[in-house]
Amino acid sequence: MNEWVMIGVPTSAGAHHAGQELAPDALRAAGLGDRLAQAGVAVTDSGNLPGAVFATDHVSPTARNLAAVARVAGEVADAVAKVVSTGQIPLVLGGDCTITIGAVAGLKRRHADGGLIYVDGDADLGVPGDGGSDSGILDSMGISHLLGRGAPELTALGGHAPLLEASRLAILGSDPRETDDGGRAFLADAGVSFQEAPALIADPAFAAQRALAKVTSTSSRFIVHFDIDVVDSGDLPLGNFPHYGSGVLLDHAVAALRVLRSHPSFAGLVVTEVNPTHDPIGSELSRLVSGLTSALAS
């Protein structure tokens, strides 16, 4: 059995505001490591990377905190590459979604054909300076940067762009209200596997299998990005950016994750968007830890 290595990435640099930088330690305090060990999952904790805290950025309103986001993504790439090269499985605890750009870069240092299954409430198709991305929040632009659209500091994180070929990407669970027709057309033209929340709700295991079929047809290894905001905030109000009404339950996400991590080509998991300040008594963190434990246990 491969051993998991927990990598904390205390960053909110790419987010709408601070808060997510507290997530790795909050997940530890909620017993994630102990719960996994009790469930028979071999896991070690490599501690936290330096990370970064969101700061108001008046200089770069179309790509806020870009330097910090790129620095952290680079640190994540180094850490993930190190773990993957030993045959272990990284469990990356974010942190905002931009860390997945680094995780993919790290995977690809070892597996050039590495792929990604992106389980997220959003397709994250924003581009700096694009009219649809006026917020300048890089957290909402991860897929674009992975596919080569956006700031060179991120698109070239792996040494060349695109960092990820569209044929090695599957997006699963995003809220249909968050993607416009232009975004759908872009993904379809690129050949990205794109299944939205209704597909995940209807049959989580089947949706996961479809994503696997797409990514493993081109990739010998893949990692999974799990943004907890794929879960309807009415069920789990812990995500940094609320998504109410998608209908996706934590149970749906866990069922899909269980299928994904069971695949022999599975190479790591990135957990993002946990904001502990939304959970003063820790009840939602506890539910999330239970869900993750259930998904990762054999």
Partner: protein, 98 residues
């Protein structure tokens, strides 16, 4: 000059998620009342209303911190947040009166 009366309402029941219920205490801890006072604004701090924070529907109400101003230890993630912003890891015992 009319005197201002500060009324804390630690509520997040109508919000997207919890968090806002800590705002009155955070504003006090950030020195809001003292800053007003130093700026020549007469202000007193009344008791904080007991209002529940935001639990998911069906989980029942969560007792608030309201009313009595008893210092409390913060959970680890709140403590980290507090330390990041230079606050003590205990709520101060400020009695609400300037």
């Amino acid at each position: 000059m009319s005197e201002w009366v500060m009324i804390g309402v630690p509520a997040s029941a109508g919000a997207h998620h919890a968090g806002q219920e800590v705002a009155p205490e955070a504003l006090r801890a950030a020195g809001f009342a003292h800053r007003l006072y130093r700026a020549g604004i007469g202000v007193t701090d009344s008791a904080t209303f007991p209002v529940p924070c935001s639990p998911p529907d069906g989980d029942g109400a969560i007792p608030s911190v309201a009313g009595e101003r008893v210092p409390r230890l913060l959970p680890p993630w709140e403590a980290g947040y507090a330390l990041h912003y230079g606050r003590s890891n205990q709520q101060d015992g400020f009695d609400g009166n300037v």
